[in-house]
């Protein structure tokens, strides 16, 4: 008798627990009132972002506007659950009008039909933004939101460690590897690992695309011949034992702080990460332009950067655009975002901010924003993301971790191939045409 009760309870709980687990994920958005509510009175535009500083910017907007008011909510960063929350809220029909979306993820949102085309309101303001930013918000020939920030790539290096070991600042990738060999002799790792988007920046700089449209279908090309050249270079650094702890790990932060990891090759926004992760080494670090494949070139890549995207279900896209455009271009708003989240703005007005012309104490007084500004003008323009990015980059990260750990014959090249295969099968599953 007892066991039959247990049996019934068991079966019931199995069903509820396992299937309930799925649906619980899709019903966790709490904020009820969705989008702009316009009936002649004050319109409310709901905004969800993860970058710090938006709360201040939203307050400033509300103080200076009577007709539109922002209702602001901070969410988790996109890949840490923020995108899930946004997607779930769209599915549930209570999405905000605006949400922060990474440039790399926008094509996926477009593919899912989760964003609204605002070209008709936005196109007049195109001139307010840096070209890289405008390219980020454009998919096909349609615009889906306002560029917020960008991530032109530069070289962060520990000047104190470089000088102590007589290492010159590298200007080409060959010199970068040579610097690594010098540092290795002193027991210092050249850099940490680059596993997902951080790695994509190298391909971006090299002009080796991952997504191309050919004959009305997608070609997924992270392991194209040009990409394998880049992969060979990084494999060389791995084989020579020049690469240290995994990016974002505690060891990585510790290494940046104690001088045992000497460089970061990454987007401008790494300046903020560096200040947080390696506060101890303030004054040691400096910024230089990205090493080049050919001496004398001046090309760089971009990692990250995001827009305020107008989401499906927004009943006043025009008001949403007004808010998004103001948040990106108003000097006070941009300053709040620079101070709060260390963002590197995508609007031309933002790039003129006073906060970006003064020397930075963390970098020994260097005006790092000058280096960033130069880099932002040198970002390679022929790069486009496509659908299925999260699978591509997620699979790549797993493979790259194996390659850095030198496990089971994994290399950078096999990681890239694995990422391509996973992406192709996902796109095909959803009926998207793929060139093989």
């Amino acid at each position: 008798m007892k066991s039959s009760i247990i049996k019934a309870a068991g079966v019931a709980s199995i069903l509820t627990l396992t299937v309930g687990g799925l649906t619980a994920c899709s019903s966790d958005s709490t904020s009820g009132s969705g989008s702009a509510e316009g009936d002649g009175k004050v319109k409310e535009v709901e905004v969800w972002t993860w970058a710090a500083g938006y709360d201040e910017a939203a307050k400033a907007f509300n103080a200076s506007h009577d007709d539109i008011q922002i209702k602001y909510t901070q969410i988790e960063p996109g890949n840490k659950g923020g995108y899930d929350k946004v997607r779930n809220s769209i599915t549930a029909g209570n999405a905000p009008c605006l949400a922060q979306v990474g440039y790399e993820t926008l094509p996926s949102f477009v593919a899912e039909g989760n964003v609204v085309d605002v070209t008709e309101f936005a196109s007049a303001d195109k001139g307010l933004y840096a070209p890289a930013g405008w390219a980020g918000v454009t998919v096909g020939d349609k615009v889906y939101g306002a560029p917020q920030d960008q991530g032109p790539m530069v070289l962060f290096y520990n000047k104190t460690v470089f000088e102590a070991n007589g290492v010159a600042v590298p200007t080409t990738w060959d010199e970068y590897q040579a610097a690594g060999e010098q540092l290795k002799a002193a027991g210092v790792k050249l850099t940490g690992t680059y596993e997902d988007y951080d790695y994509s920046g190298f391909a971006w700089q090299a002009g080796a695309p991952w997504y191309e449209i050919k004959d009305g279908a997608w070609s997924i090309t992270p392991d194209s011949p040009e990409n394998l050249d880049v992969a060979d270079y990084w494999q060389g650094l791995i084989d020579a034992d020049l690469i240290g702890a995994g990016i974002w790990s505690d060891e990585w932060s510790a290494g940046l702080g104690d001088g045992s990891i000497a460089t970061i090759v990454g987007a401008a926004w790494f300046s903020g990460i560096l200040k947080d992760s390696a506060a101890a080494s303030a004054g040691d670090w400096a910024v230089a332009e990205l090493p080049q494949w050919e001496a004398g070139d001046a090309k760089t890549g971009n990692v990250g950067g995001s827009l305020s995207a107008v989401l499906k279900g927004c009943d006043d896209p025009e008001a949403a655009w007004t808010v998004a455009n103001w948040l990106s271009t108003d000097p006070g708003s941009v300053d709040a975002l620079i101070e709060g989240g260390g963002v590197y703005p995508a609007s031309l007005a933002g790039l003129e901010s006073d906060l970006l012309t003064s020397g930075d104490d963390y970098f020994g007084g260097q005006v790092v924003a000058d280096v960033f500004k130069t880099a932002s003008g040198q970002v390679n323009e022929d790069w486009a993301w496509g659908p299925g990015v999260s699978t591509l980059v997620g699979t790549l990260a797993t493979g790259m971790k194996q390659a850095y750990a030198k496990e089971g014959g994994a290399t950078v090249a096999t990681a890239l191939t694995g990422a391509r295969e996973a992406t192709e099968s996902e796109l095909k599953q959803q009926g998207i045409a793929v060139n093989e």
Partner: protein, 317 residues
């Protein structure tokens, strides 16, 4: 046994009263009262469990269809078997199921033997400081799994981790999160977290073992070991079965621990366990496929559990 006897005893006073009044009214009044008592549960149960399950089942019958370039929005087309057929041919999903099966076959017995052992030790007549041991072995369960996984990922760390720093003295270095060991590293975290929980359930059942039975065993000269094996364990069998079924379900839902450890190793990928695989489908915005994966997992666990009950009840009868 005793409980079922008392609850089955008829309430004689009640029947006399109903005989005096018209037969129908009280029954309908009782059922009206019953609605008030059962209603809240039913509403919540249907709203929070049954409806979402039905919705997931319904969703799983659709196929995501995008246009050739996938930039024109999404259509969901009714194609009942598509997602299920795809899941059964999805190498990653199938191997994630194989992985948790292997995990369960090894981890569940290890954990339950540990839990039973600790429960018997604390329950034994000669145990000292029972409260302390009960609390300290239960304490890991109070740590949220995400936190414990983060803690273990630090302990496992090949360079900074204290375990490897100690091993280094002997010239040994173990990469706990390598391809070969990662699953067992996860199993260790789960065992650490859940042994105490299962121990408490079994321990509570041990408290229900009648004192006279134990006394009789003692009088007959049974050793403590013999008492545990032949009296206590058979009497707490229902509790052991219950913890087993909970553990089987828990293994099938393995998520937090591998998800956190994934940050530190390439040996754990985005579809390492079935729930992680379903979550990965959500991330690529393929809700119907995620629903189908969840349904398959639920059916699999239900079948396993029923089989388990069949097996164990046949042996007992």
């Amino acid at each position: 046994m005793t409980t079922s006897l008392t609850s089955a005893a008829p309430p004689p006073v009640e029947t006399k009263r109903t005989a005096a009044t018209p037969p129908r009214r009280p029954r309908s009044r009782t059922s009206r009262y019953a609605i008030w008592f059962v209603g809240p549960f039913v509403v919540l149960f249907v709203g929070m469990y049954v409806a979402p399950i039905l919705f997931a089942l319904y969703k799983s019958l659709f196929r995501i269809q995008r246009d050739a370039l996938g930039l024109g929005g999404t259509q969901e087309i009714f194609d009942p078997l598509f997602n299920y057929a795809y899941a059964l041919g999805d190498e990653k999903f199938i191997s994630s199921i194989g992985r948790v099966l292997l995990f369960g076959v090894v981890q569940v017995p290890v954990m339950l033997v540990l839990a039973l052992g600790i429960a018997l030790l604390i329950d034994s007549a000669s145990a000292r400081a029972k409260g302390f041991f009960r609390l300290s072995s239960f304490a890991p369960y109070a740590v949220p799994t995400v936190v414990s996984a983060l803690m273990w990922s630090f302990l496992y760390s090949p360079t900074n981790g204290p375990v490897n720093q100690v091993l280094e003295v002997f010239g040994i270095s173990i990469n706990f999160l390598s391809q070969d060991l990662a699953l067992w590293a996860v199993a260790n975290v789960v065992t650490w977290g859940w042994t105490g929980y299962n121990m408490i359930i079994i321990y509570a059942a041990l408290q229900g073992v009648p004192g006279e039975v134990l006394e009789a065993a003692k009088l007959d000269g049974a050793s403590p070991w013999r008492t545990a094996w032949s009296i206590k364990i058979p009497l707490v069998r229902p509790a052991i079965l219950l913890t087993t079924i909970f553990s089987i379900i828990g293994s099938a839902q393995l998520y937090n621990e591998p998800f956190v450890l994934k940050q530190s190793t390439g040996a754990i990928d985005a579809s390492y366990t079935p729930i992680m695989a379903a979550q990965a489908s959500l991330q690529s915005a393929n809700y119907p496929y995620a629903a189908a994966q969840s349904v398959l997992l639920a059916v699999g666990v239900a079948v396993l559990s029923v089989l388990f009950f069949r097996l164990t009840s046949r042996r007992s009868s």
